[in-house]
Symmetry: C2
Subunit: 93 residues, 2 copies
DNA sequence: TTCTATTGTTCACAATTACCGAACAATAGA
DNA sequence: TCTATTGTTCGGTAATTGTGAACAATAGAA
């Protein structure tokens, strides 16, 4: 819950869910159109990773991350969907 | 989301949902079996109130609070249920 | 190999936020 | 009025978060 309570992290998760093949830090910040230092982005990714929400894989020089949909849905059914739906309602309205 | 990310606030909401007639700060801390200063409890209630999760009503010298179920369910369907279910799974397991 | 470019992490410090005790406000009853 | 109870506000301190600089790791070019 703490990992998903930060608005920046929530928007990162929302972007990761849209991108099927995963995203790295640089792609994420450019898609979010927010100026975020890479150290801050790295911290957010670390929190998301340690909380089990995303998994990351090294591809050459970059680190590609994806949402762990299956694990999350089996452990907390409907949770991420409900949170993202609420977030979109607030964020895009 | 921020209001629901704190474990103490989440346990307060869980207790409030169980108590049909609402609870005040003192009753809440005793039910949670946690030693929490009343100033801290007051802050948590203020955050829950300002975020629209609970509503409070003065009854004599005490302040009785309830979860705003209808408003929350109509605006964010399934959100609170999913969060509380996930919380119980982590908390009582 | 060595140099350069790119991506991401770590560290230390600054800024922000949360916690808590003390004083205060409000209400009820003796 | 006096006392007891509940809750809020305020100030200082502790904890957390954001950030730039330095560093690590990988890939490709020279």
């Amino acid at each position: 819950m703490h990992a998903l309570s930060d608005p920046v992290r929530l928007s990162i998760v929302a972007e990761l869910r849209k991108a099927e093949e995963g995203l790295n830090c640089v792609e994420t910040t450019s898609r979010l159109k927010c100026t975020m230092p890479k150290s801050t982005c790295s911290q957010h990714y670390r929190i998301l990773r340690e909380s089990g929400i995303i998994q990351s894989e090294r591809r050459g020089v970059e680190l590609t991350s994806k949402v762990r949909r299956k694990e999350l849905d089996s452990r907390f059914p409907g949770l991420l969907d409900a949170i993202l739906k609420a977030w979109r309602r607030e964020h895009e309205a």
